[in-house]
């Protein structure tokens, strides 16, 4: 099976005034269709940086990042935007919903940006997803009227509404209590298994990690291994002590 994300020998430097901060130093990674992968590593190890490169919101200093067969370093900004809209779904740590739109409108928004579906089709798609994330009764609520877990479920629905090939989630559970966080990961796993959507999410939390199919360990901008969740959890727990 062809890799949906293919990263080879990627470096990423940040320039802070005159100081160069190397965030990624030679990452090579393939992610295949339908995988449910966690990226784990200590704070500052480069998880967010890596997800940003895969998510086409940033470009590598060196090396090739290709998403859905396209070399993202060679695409102009408007094409990258299209790629993000049609191929990638995003779930953010702090939910990032549009405050003035209600739940239904937030989830519908990417479909409006695409402009492909009729109002009736959009409605069916959005309500179907809200059903799956258990928020069908909250369609007309504003984000401010929801709990953190509910908001993140809205964000999950929004990320999936365009039926993207990959969903990226940067610490999706970090702002949630552990039970709610587990529920979100369970929901993501369920959608992954039902629809075959590829999920890549980063986390610190061993409890969250263990739901993943595989865990990519990253430290200091380098991949240190690709292991099973159990081993990773053990490792993380050990590292914490």
């Amino acid at each position: 099976m062809a890799a949906i994300v293919s990263i080879s020998d990627v470096y990423k430097d940040y320039h802070l005034d005159k100081v160069v901060v190397p965030a990624l130093r030679g990452i090579t990674l393939d992610v295949h269709h339908g995988e449910f992968i966690s990226i784990a590593g200590p704070s500052g190890s480069g998880k967010t940086t890596l997800l940003n490169l895969i998510g086409c919101v940033d470009t590598a200093t060196r090396g090739v990042v290709s998403v859905a067969g396209q070399d993202t370093g060679k695409l102009p900004e408007s094409k990258l935007t299209d790629l993000r809209l049609n191929t990638i779904g995003f779930i953010f740590q702090s939910f990032n919903l549009v405050a003035v739109l209600d739940v239904f409108q937030n989830v519908e928004f990417p479909l409006l940006l695409q402009g492909k579906l009729s109002a009736a089709e959009r409605r069916k798609r959005v309500m179907g997803l809200l059903e799956q994330v258990g928020l069908a009764n909250h369609a007309r609520h504003r984000p401010s009227e929801l709990s953190g877990g509910q908001r993140q479920r809205v964000a999950v629905a929004r990320a999936l509404v365009t039926q993207p090939q990959i969903v990226l989630a940067d610490e999706p559970t970090a702002n949630l209590d552990s039970t709610t966080g587990q529920n979100i990961i369970d929901l993501m796993r369920e959608l992954n298994q039902k629809q075959g959507t590829t999920f890549i999410f980063s986390t610190h939390d061993p409890k969250v990690m263990k739901h993943a199919q595989a865990v990519v360990m990253i430290a200091d901008g380098r991949i240190t291994g690709r292991t099973t969740p159990e081993a990773a959890a053990l490792h993380a727990a050990g590292g914490a002590h």
């Binding site: 740590q93 990032n96 549009v98």
Partner: protein
């Protein structure tokens, strides 16, 4: 895209205080702009209407007759022949002849120096519509010593209908002559113009100035369309020259300001002069100009202040919503749409506020017009009328709404551009 309007609108509602403050300011400027336009329009309208009946036609054929080179009299001799020529020009509706002069009007208790218009009441079609007679009867102007004055003059002179006054004036030959006139009608003031002039039976005026029956002051020409006046002017001059008259060089000033120039020239005999109503009232039009300049300046300053306000508010809104912008960019919104989103916010704020301002201005204008309150005389000088009258046209309202909405939208461009240039990566980084 409808959702962008919804987001913009809801964000405006969300930040109620900021929106009300800015929107209120824009509403205020719209109100002011429409009222100022309505005022200057009203003033020009009033000026045109009263001027073109009280003291000038749409076009005038006047002129000077000089016995010696330094003694100019503002008369047209053998005017019937001139009238025949003028009457048959295309576009001419009707022609009246008016006597012209200055005289001291003396009553038992006071006296005033006034411009005298000699009229033949049977010819005066427009005068009946413009003058509203508060006492007496306009038809009595047919009497040879009939005099019509305005309310303010009647008050100053302490006279009423039926009273006699004495008119005293120098004749073209240089001697003083007097006549007794009877006040047959008193009319409501028509602004500044009515402060300086009265109407006297034309034959009475000829008697006062010892003019022969074939002499008059000027022919006031009324056209089917007043807008044609400046185009008609050279045609009329040409027609008169072809008929053998000497026509004075074009001089866009009222006749009473031309004596000095004419007296300095060496010629004697009759020369004709053709002027438009605008020439004859150019003396007054500076008021409209000043009102326009001052209000233009005021509005420019206010628009400047509002522009800074709108830019600033939008700039704050964008800073507050940095994460939202980053998020939307990350989930696939193109730069152009982000630009539109904020531009629409400025546009909506502008549109809603200006429409409200326009509605308010129409109400205020209607109320002020209905109150018909007399204004102090200093203001009267500016507004050319003794009451303030706003003439708010649909055109002026549309202009104010479009122009000010355009301004707010335009200044929104700059912050919106900055928002559109923000990188999606800020979505993950910006805290708050």
């Amino acid at each position: 895209m409808g959702q962008l309007f919804l987001i913009a609108f809801r964000n405006l509602v969300q930040h109620r205080r900021r929106t009300l403050l800015l929107g209120g300011a824009i509403t205020g400027v719209t109100l002011l702009l429409v009222l100022v336009l309505g005022l200057t329009h009203g003033v020009s309208e009033t000026m045109m209407r009263s001027a073109t009946t009280v003291s000038t036609g749409h076009l005038n054929v006047g002129g000077f007759y000089k016995v010696t080179s330094g003694m100019a009299a503002p008369v047209v001799t053998d005017y019937e022949r001139v009238r025949e020529i003028v009457k048959h020009q295309p576009g001419v509706a009707f022609v009246v002849d008016r006597g012209r002069g200055w005289a001291r009007v003396v009553s038992d208790t006071g006296s005033m120096q006034l411009g005298i218009n000699g009229i033949d009441i049977r010819q005066e079609k427009g005068l009946r519509e413009v003058l509203s007679i508060t006492s007496g009867n306009l038809d009595d102007m047919a009497k040879k010593n009939g005099l019509l004055i305005f309310e303010q003059q009647a008050e100053k002179l302490g006279v009423k209908v039926g009273d006699s006054v004495t008119l005293s004036a120098p004749t073209p030959r240089g001697v003083n002559n007097t006549m007794d006139a009877v006040i047959v009608a008193i009319a409501r003031d028509v602004g500044l113009l009515s402060n300086f002039s009265v109407f006297l039976n034309n034959d009475g005026l000829r008697g006062l100035y010892q003019l022969n029956p074939h002499t008059t002051g000027a022919l006031q020409v009324y056209l089917n369309d007043i807008k044609q006046a400046s185009q008609m002017k050279p045609k009329l001059r040409q027609a008169l020259e072809q008929a053998g008259y000497t026509v004075m060089a074009d001089d866009p000033r009222p006749f009473f300001m031309k004596f000095d120039t004419v007296n300095r020239e060496a010629w004697t005999g009759q020369r004709l002069d053709v002027t438009t109503w605008e020439d004859e009232t150019s003396f007054f039009s500076w008021t409209v100009l000043i009102v326009n300049l001052l209000s233009g300046l005021l509005i420019a300053v206010l628009i400047g202040i509002i522009s800074v306000g709108v830019m600033n508010a939008l700039w704050i809104a964008i800073r507050e919503r940095t994460r939202e912008v980053g998020t939307l960019r990350a989930i696939g919104m193109q730069k152009g749409r982000v630009l539109m989103m904020f531009l629409i916010e400025g546009f909506l704020l502008g549109l809603m506020s200006t429409v409200l301002g326009a509605v308010l201005s129409v109400v205020v204008a209607a109320v002020v017009n209905a109150l018909n309150q007399p204004v102090p005389s200093a203001v009267q000088l500016f507004v050319m009328s003794n009451t303030i009258r706003f003439l708010v046209t649909p055109g002026a309202v549309t202009f104010a709404v479009l122009f000010l909405t355009g301004c707010t939208t335009f200044v929104s461009l700059f912050p919106s551009f900055i928002a559109a240039r923000m990188k999606p990566i800020t979505a993950m980084h910006h805290i708050g």
